[in-house]
Structure formats: structure tokens, C-alpha cells
Amino acid sequence: MTFEIPDFVPVIPELFLLGMACAILLADLFIPQARRDITYGLAQFTLLGTFLLTVILASPEARFTFSDSFVADPMSDLLKSMVLLVSAAVFLYSRPYLQSRDLHKGEFYVLGLFGVLGMLIMISAHSLLTLYLGLELLSLCLYALVAFNRDSPVASESAMKYFVLGSIASGMLLYGMSLLYGITGTLDIAGVTQGVVAAAAGSADHSVALVFALAFVVVGLGFKLGAVPFHMWLPDVYHGAPTPVTLFIGAAPKIAAFAIAMRLLVDGLGPLHGDWQGMLLILAVLSLAVGNVVAIAQTNIKRMFAYSTIAHVGFIVMGLMSGIEAGYAAAMFYVIVYAITSAGGFGMILLLSRKGFEADAIEDFKGLNDRSPWFAFVMLLLMFSMAGVPPTVGFYAKLAILQSVVQVELVWLAVFAVLMSVIGAFYYLRVVKYMYFDKPADTAPLPQGTGINVVLSINGLLVIGLGIFPGLLMALTTAAR
């Protein structure tokens, strides 16, 4: 038996991230609390370095390595870049919050970096095992992060919930994968596709087993994406976790979850499209309905965002369900737009909060226009983007999804989705109403000069800038498929 040295070039970004994360873990031990900003700087340097490496190594060809269990292709290049940029913004938004609450510890960044590594591996997975390893690496970091504020009973409770439900979901996914392995005899995703075609053409027993495996895979993915009826963990975790962690969970991991859905369902189980289309259809319809309707009743903005996330997941699932290339590209566009917008939304909560004041009730946005016209405007853009009102980028995301759904002649579903969006518009408008039409209850000045102001402004301008020129990002997502 010969040992082949694998091609390391496609994994350079991941190796860099891994090395740096380990180095920071060690270095942080020797950094006194007063100089914790060094850890922060190193973490940001790592993310940006990984981003640059990803961009430099990007190429329109798919590159396989580690016996085809890892792939770097245009989709992974695009999604990884987005994950890294969004995570860098998340770290930036989080620092002032952590500092003011004595939570500014190196572990936050180290766990975050390992989580990002998990996401990158998920995105690039080309074998069921790699995919699962990436997913678990991410999940374990997230469980720990949710419980990061260990003195808070609410956070501990939600970490526990997250852990139990997340483990069940991982178990489901793993069980589905093991069935797939049993049927096809391979872990390689391309091999699974061939095996599935062969098995489906074979005996009836095999097709039953395949659908059985498929059901478990879909349930697992549904949990990770947060699609109804597997959404129960989402509002509690969003609500209970410290806001920076909610931001972290809410933004980038959705991109990674989308990526594994693409790898598993579209690439791996593509031949079974007829079977999973119906399952995803149900998930999409329920997510849209439950997410939008229940969000109206929320008074806590983090919970409101949680339900709004569920509604957005409904749209993403709709794009996947359509089963056409345009639909996948649309879903990818949507998930990227969602990550940018939701990072901005949670960033606003972090901007308004200070020690002893979480600013997580919707009413805390009262009279923001009087306190800071600019940030009220930024939040206005974010809200209209989430509602899907042009000229913000959220509109084009919805447009692309609806278009692919109409293309596969599910006009009724498109009508249902837009009706739900109208319901959704109501709770986004309510935030705007508090900001612009009410007098402020809290008149404390907003923090100045923490860098968060600048990035948040860029984030808001991105929402309108991509809305006026959506062509470039759309071309990228289309090319990535």
C-alpha cells in the first residue's frame, strides 16, 4: 500500500485558519485581560487572511483533494468568502458589547474561529464524513458560545436546549447518512449519486430504503436550517444567547447550512429530486406561514428576528425545492443577502445596547430618528430589505426565488409566498414606526468611535447599494452554480 501525499493547495485557507486558531488559543493564555484587544486583532487578522487566501486561490474549476473528500469549487469560494466577511463583521460588532460586560475573553474568538473552520469544511465537503465533521465542529462551538455568559441562567438554559435538539438533529442526519452508505456503499458524494441512480433502478426494497434515508437527511437539514416544523430551538436560542452570539448564529451558519443542503440534496441526492421536492415544499409553506404570523406577536426584537429568520428560511427552501439551476442560484443569492441583512439587524441591537441595557425590546427603538437620524435610516433600510421592498436588495432576493418558482409552474406557491410577505411587512414596519413616529423613551447618546458605527453604516449602504446594482452578486451566484 502506497501513501499518497494529498494536494494541499485547495485547503490552504482552512490550514491557515486552523493553525492561527491554535496559535491564538495558546497565545491568549499569556495575554493579560487588559491587552485582550491583541487576541481580537489576531482573530480579525486570521479571518481576513483566510478571506484573502480564499480569494487568491479561487478558480472557476472544481479542485478535489484528500481522496475526493474535499472540494473547492466556485460555490465554495463564494460562500466561504461571505462566511469570512460576515464573521469578521460579527467580531467587530461584538467587541464593545463584550468589553462592557466583562465577557471579553479570548475563548469567544477562539470558539468563533473554530466555528468558522467548521463552516468552511461544511461548505467544501465532498464526502458524507467530511460534511458531518464540519457540522459537528461548528455545532460544538456554537453550544459553548451560547453558554458563554455562564452566570446567566437564561443563556445556560438555551444552551442546553440547543445542545439536546442539535444533537437529535445531528443524529437524524447521521442515521440518514448511514442508510445512504448502506445502500450505495460509498461516502463520496459523487459516488452516492451514482449509487442512488443504480439503487433506484434496482429492486423496490432499495427505493423504499432510499426514501427512508432521504427523509432522515431532510429532517436533519430542516433542523439545521431552522425550517418549520423543526424550528423549535431557534426562538429560544436567539433570545437566550448573548446578543453577539445570536448575531454569530444568525448570520454565517445559515450560509453553511445552505451549502450542506446543496451538497447533500442537490449534488448527492439530485436523482431523487421528485421525492425531496414534496418534502421541501411542505417545509417551505409551513416556514413561511409560521415565521411570518408568529413574528407579529413578538415584543422582543431578538425573538422577532428569530421568527423572521424562519420565514426567510422558507424562501431559501423554496429556491432549493424548485430543482432548477436558476432556483439554486436564487437561493444562494438569498442566503447571502439574508446573512448581510441579519448581521446588520443584530448589529443595530448591539449598537443601542450598553451595560445593564440590552436594547432587545422592540420598544427600545422608539424615537431613534430623534437620537440618530443616520442609524434610524440604516435600520430603515435593513427593515425594508427584510420585508422585500425595493430598492433594497431583499427585493431582488425574493424576486429571484419567485421567478424560479413560477418557472417550475408553481404559481400558487409564489402567490402564497408574497401573501405571507405582506403579513411579514407588518412587523418590519412596526420597527420603523417606533423609530420614526414615536418619541424616544431612552435618550442616552449612542456610543461614538468604536468602529461599529462605520461598519454598520457600510452594512446599511450595502443593502441599498446591492439593491441598486444587484447584477454583480447575481452574476456571481449564477456562475457559482
Binding site: 421592498v389 429571484a400 414596519l429 414606526k433 447575481m474
Partner: protein
């Protein structure tokens, strides 16, 4: 010298970018933002004049066309162009915006720059709606328009403004999402988002009917038609004067424009099959809403209902064409109702703006819109009374004012179609006279009602000029409508020729 300028882009982006600049000037320098806003509004108006002067009246083709790829993935283009039905509406927009900025001069003291910026951006977006030749571009402008209006009503509105503005937003949003689905469906059929391609896409009867109904929802809410009109009185009552003016003068017209640009040419067979529905709803608007207007105690509400009734006349005119054809057997003359509706839209834009501005003048002095609080205003405000009576007369359709031309043409068209429709339509002459003149009698004439009225000051110079310019426009269009009709002719004729051909 203007012929090779991108005039349409200029009338869209000058006010939008200008509005953003005003926004950044901020509220610290209210006087500077007022002056800047007025200059931008005047500049936009001046830029829109060459559209009228250089307009080629002999063709129905799109003019001043601009075409740049925008979102290449979906074959969406930044495609602008105007024809006879959109050009007058752009002029109306730039003209009204100028007056609205001027009318807010001393009246708006809270967050001046945000107020002015909202109206400037709104003007640019509305110009975009009228000149977009790409369906997605149209939809983007069509929806984006809601945002500034939502804020205008919500921030500067009356006591019940939040209810009114949410109702306004959700009603219109609800209507327009169906339009979006229809446009996407048309894209899958036509292979592009160009509106002119939609015009020539063959469609089956079921598809046409569904598309027609989807578009009807969007445009009927905008116009608004009975029974989806209930947001309008609320929005008008709560909106600040400027908001009411733009709402009545321009935003309602976008619904009417939508029928001419989308519904009729894209789904002619469905429009023919469902013209009874449109005519019935229009007549209900004319008669029933006219009666409702009679009973109003609030001046703005009365004018709001009167707007619905007048817009009913517009939709009536648009959808008479098929009935005229069935009755007379040829398409000659079927365009009369459409031209009449267009004239009525422009005229109502001027008159409703004037009426709301007049009520605004009174409201600024008395802070009341209740008719009962007034009486004998003519004694203390003779100039105002003169203008108000003129506009009221125009609202009732008195010959010599612009209100007469459109109504006369539509009623004439109605006679060609069916006597009973004409009879019902003509009741508007009585009803409009009843509610408007009764309003004038109670507010302007009679004894001075109370001390507040006795202390009223007559128009200041600014108000005089605003109302004076409008009065001039109303009379000019009334005695000499030819320039407007010339512009419309070729386009309307082509539209009638187009809808005469079945797309099945």
C-alpha cells in the same frame, strides 16, 4: 440643445440625488434646506419642459429612450421612454412637486430637511414609474414610492397617523405583490422583462384573466376603486397637506396609468370580457361614493371621496372602448373615452392639488378641518374665497375649467356605448355640484361663524402665488386643451388599434 441629453434620467435622478443632499444638509439649517429643495424642484421642472417641447406628436413610438443593461442575469434593463400617456404625467409630477415644496415653507417646522427630501425623492421615483419601460424597473419605482409616503404620513401626519399610514402601506403593498407575480409570469412567457414585449406576447384566456385580475388588484388599490378605496380617506385626512396633494395629484394617477400601460395592452381579451366589471365598479365609485362625499363633515375627507368619484370617471372612460365597439361596430371613436380619462387624470391632478392646498391654507390658520368650524370665510379672506370658489367650480366640471373637458369627453363616449351608463355617469355633474358647492356654501359664504374666523388673515404672497399658478393652469387647460390632446392622440389611437386585435 436638449435633444441628446438623457432627459428622463435627469428628471428621475436630479430630485433623488438632490433629496439625498438635502437630507445630509440636515435639520440644523432649515432655511438652507428649504431654499435648496426649492431650487432642486424648480430645476427638475425646467428639465422636464423639453420633454413637452421636443415631444414628437406624430408618433406613438417611445421617445427619449434610454437603454442600458442592468441585471444581465435576468435580462433586466434600465430602459426608459415616454409616449403620449406618460409624458403629461411626468410634467404634472414635476409641477406639483414644486408647489408642494413651496407650500411647506413656513408650515413645516419639524425636521424640515427630512420632509423636503421625502418629497423630492418621491418625485424622482414617480417620474421613474412613468418612464420605466422595463417591468422590474417599473416595479422597483412603484414600490419604492411607498417608503417616503409612509414616512411622510407617519411623521408629519395628524393624530391618527400611524393607523392611517400602516393601512396605506399594507393596502398598496398587498395589491402590488400580485402585480409582481403577474410580471414574473409574463417574463416566463415573453422571455424578457420589456413592457413592450409583453404587449405582443400571445396569452390564453385563463392566463389573461388571471393576469388582468392580479393587475386589477394592484392598480385598483392605487386609484382607488370601490371597494378597495377605504384607505384613501384615512390617508388623506391624516397626511400633511403636501402628502395629500401628492397622493391625490400623482399617486392615484399611477393606478390609471397602469391600466393603460399594462392591463389593456397586455390582456385585451380579458379586459374585453371583464369590461362589465370595470364599468360597474366605476359607476359605483361615481354614484355611491359621490353620495358618501355629500355626507362628510371633514373637508379633507370630502375631497378624498370626491377624488375617488372623479377617478371612477377615469376608469369608466378607459374601459368604455369595448362597449363602444360592440355598439357601433368600429374602433373609430373608441379612443374618446381613453383620451377623456387621460384628460380627466391631468385635470384632476391640478384640481385636487388646488383643493387640498386650499384646505391646507385654512388648516394652517385654524387647525381644524371640520366644516362646522367655518363659515363666512369670504368676509375675512376675500382672495382665498375667490380661488376656492374657482377650484370648486372646476371640481364640479364647469365649462371653461379643465374639469369640464375630461368629463365631457367621457360622458360623450358613454353615450356612444350605452344610454344608461351615460345617464348614471352624468349624475356626477349633479352630485359633484351638490357636495362641492354645499361645501363652499358652508365654509366660504354666510355670516362669520365665530371669533376664530373673524381673525383670519387673507393669503400671504406665497400662498397667493401657489394658488394663482394652479388657477391659471386649470383655466388654461379648460379653454385650450388642444396641446394636451395633441400629445395624446397618436398614442391613444395606437392603443385602441392594439386592443382591437385579440391575443388569443
Amino acid at each position: 440643445m436638449f435633444a441628446d441629453w438623457p432627459l428622463l434620467s435627469l428628471v428621475i435622478w436630479t430630485p433623488i440625488i438632490g433629496g439625498l443632499i438635502v437630507l445630509f444638509v440636515g435639520d440644523r439649517m432649515p432655511e438652507a434646506s428649504r431654499r435648496l429643495s426649492l431650487s432642486i424642484a424648480v430645476l427638475t421642472f425646467l428639465l422636464s419642459l423639453p420633454l413637452f417641447v421636443l415631444f414628437d406628436r406624430s408618433t406613438h413610438e417611445m421617445q427619449f429612450v434610454e437603454w442600458v443593461p442592468w441585471i444581465s442575469t435576468f435580462d433586466i434593463h434600465y430602459h426608459l421612454g415616454v409616449d403620449g400617456i406618460s409624458m403629461p404625467l411626468i410634467l404634472l409630477t414635476t409641477f406639483t412637486t414644486m408647489l408642494v415644496v413651496l407650500a411647506a415653507w413656513e408650515v413645516i417646522q419639524y425636521r424640515v430637511s427630512q420632509y423636503m427630501a421625502s418629497f423630492l425623492i418621491l418625485a424622482g421615483l414617480m417620474n421613474g414609474v412613468f418612464s420605466a419601460m422595463d417591468a422590474v424597473l417599473f416595479y422597483v419605482f412603484f414600490e419604492a414610492m411607498l417608503i417616503p409616503m409612509f414616512l411622510v404620513i407617519g411623521i408629519w401626519g395628524g393624530p391618527n397617523r400611524i393607523y392611517a399610514t400602516l393601512k396605506f402601506f399594507l393596502y398598496t403593498f398587498f395589491g402590488s405583490v400580485f402585480l409582481l407575480i403577474a410580471l414574473i409570469y409574463l417574463y416566463t412567457q415573453a422571455g424578457s422583462f420589456a413592457i413592450l414585449d409583453f404587449h405582443h406576447t400571445p396569452l390564453g384566456m385563463t392566463a389573461q384573466t388571471l393576469i388582468f385580475l392580479a393587475m386589477l388588484l394592484a392598480f385598483a388599490v392605487k386609484i382607488p376603486m370601490f371597494p378597495v378605496h377605504t384607505w384613501l380617506p384615512d390617508a388623506h385626512v391624516e397626511a400633511p397637506t403636501g402628502g395629500s396633494v401628492i397622493l391625490a395629484a400623482i399617486m392615484l394617477k399611477i393606478g390609471g396609468y397602469g391600466f393603460l400601460r399594462f392591463s389593456l395592452p397586455i390582456t385585451p381579451d380579458a379586459a374585453m370580457a371583464l369590461d362589465w366589471l370595470m364599468i360597474t365598479l366605476s359607476l359605483i365609485a361615481v354614484v355611491y361614493v359621490g353620495l358618501v362625499a355629500l355626507m362628510q363633515k371633514d373637508m379633507k375627507k370630502l375631497i378624498a371621496y370626491s377624488s375617488i368619484a372623479h377617478m371612477g370617471f377615469v376608469t369608466l372612460g378607459f374601459f368604455l372602448a369595448f362597449m363602444i365597439y360592440n355598439n357601433t361596430g368600429n374602433w373609430q371613436g373608441a379612443g374618446l373615452g381613453i383620451s377623456g380619462g387621460m384628460v380627466q387624470m391631468v385635470s384632476h391632478g391640478l384640481i385636487s392639488a388646488a383643493m387640498f392646498l386650499s384646505v391646507g391654507v385654512l388648516y394652517d390658520r385654524m387647525h381644524s378641518r371640520q366644516i362646522a368650524d367655518y363659515g363666512g370665510v369670504a368676509n375675512t379672506m376675500p382672495w382665498f374665497a375667490a380661488f376656492f370658489v374657482l377650484f370648486a367650480m372646476a371640481n364640479t366640471g364647469l365649462p371653461g375649467t379643465s374639469g369640464f373637458v375630461g368629463e365631457f369627453m367621457v360622458i360623450l363616449a358613454a353615450f356612444r356605448a350605452d344610454f344608461w351608463i351615460a345617464l348614471l355617469a352624468a349624475t356626477t355633474l349633479i352630485l359633484a355640484a351638490a357636495y362641492t358647492l354645499w361645501l363652499v356654501k358652508r365654509v366660504v359664504y354666510g355670516e362669520v361663524a365665530n371669533d376664530h374666523v373673524a381673525q383670519l388673515q387673507d393669503l400671504n404672497r406665497r400662498e397667493f402665488w401657489i394658488l394663482g399658478v394652479l388657477a391659471f393652469a386649470v383655466l388654461l387647460l379648460g379653454v385650450w386643451p388642444a396641446p394636451l390632446l395633441d400629445v395624446l392622440d397618436a398614442t391613444v389611437e395606437n392603443l385602441v388599434r392594439h386592443i382591437a386585435v385579440s391575443k388569443l
